[in-house]
């Protein structure tokens, strides 16, 4: 067991446990906080894959902005600290069977793929990765159209959210 494998198992365990706690927490505020830990775990997984930019961006955008947005939207509800009772549904055995079946099916399908057990090749040596990424984003025969459309999408999201969140009594 190399150190990397131990680290991966530990981080994956933390991420999965906090994801389960997000869904099963009784108090909605605690669920939001466990979500923060789950997102941090994903960032750590990016770091183990040597995707440094995405690890840092995951923390910056998800934990630094989206988690705060989620906490704010949770606080918009009145019952933030109310104990909502156990979050299990009555039909959890059926849900367990279905999810195990789906998991088994996906696993079986992936085993048919020869690339499943081979370690991934790095895209480029990391020193040039960001430069290559930047060039790919704005180069006309690569991803410039999605790049510009992304900005339009962001503006549309901002306009839509402002219209929805605005006080209706104002003009």
């Amino acid at each position: 067991m190399t150190g990397l494998q131990i680290a991966f198992l530990a981080i994956a365990a933390v991420t999965l446990a906090s994801a389960v706690l997000v869904v099963s927490s009784r108090k909605i505020m605690h669920a939001a906080l466990w979500l923060v830990l789950a997102l941090g775990g994903v960032a750590a997984l990016f770091a183990t894959l040597e995707a440094s930019f995405f690890a840092a961006v995951q923390v910056m955008v998800y934990i630094g902005a989206i988690a705060i947005l989620i906490i704010f939207s949770v606080m918009l509800t009145r019952r933030v600290m109310e104990d909502a009772g156990p979050q299990n549904t009555r039909y959890w055995p059926a849900a367990l069977v279905v999810s195990l079946g789906v998991f088994g099916g996906i696993f079986f399908l992936l085993l048919q793929w020869p690339g499943f057990t081979i370690e991934a090749r790095p895209v480029l040596e990391q020193g040039d990765f960001l430069v290559r990424f930047g060039q790919a984003l704005v180069s006309p025969d690569e991803f410039v159209v999605p790049f510009e459309v992304a900005s339009i999408l962001l503006v549309a999201a901002m306009i839509g959210a402002i219209i929805i969140a605005r006080d209706p009594s104002r003009k």
Binding site: T48, R78, V131, F133, G134, V138, S139, S151, L154, I162
Partner: protein, 118 residues
């Protein structure tokens, strides 16, 4: 690369551990004399009425939302900025168009009064 992130991980754990250890040590050194009046919630000397909940102004949400949009914009611009030296002029102009579209969004938010603190 991995060793760098290992350092960051270790540093994070140490950075969390040091203040926690200091707080723990102070918890041992300090007296502990709780009584109901000391432990009551602070309200400038009077008793608190009602649950600790205040009207959440939607304005906080709008600020965080606009911040989120600009954060994602800047994230998309970081690779463009890093590759700047290798980019031809029209690629720089494409990035400028990206920023201009978002500037337009900011102007819209401004005109609609979404950025006013009520």
């Amino acid at each position: 690369m991995l060793s760098e992130w290992l350092y960051v991980g270790v540093f994070f754990l140490i950075a969390m551990f040091l203040p926690a250890a200091a707080i723990f040590i102070a918890g041992i050194l300090a007296p502990k004399k709780p009584n109901p009046i000391k432990n009551s919630t602070y309200e400038c000397g009077i008793e608190t009425v009602g649950p600790s909940w205040i009207q959440f102004k939607a304005q906080y949400y709008v600020y965080t939302l606009v911040f989120l949009v600009f954060d994602v914009e800047v994230v998309l611009l970081f690779p463009w900025a890093v590759a700047y030296h290798q980019l031809p002029l029209f690629a720089v102009v494409e990035g400028v168009i990206f920023i201009l579209i978002l500037l337009g969004g900011l102007l819209y938010a401004w005109r609609k009064g979404a950025l006013e603190w009520l």
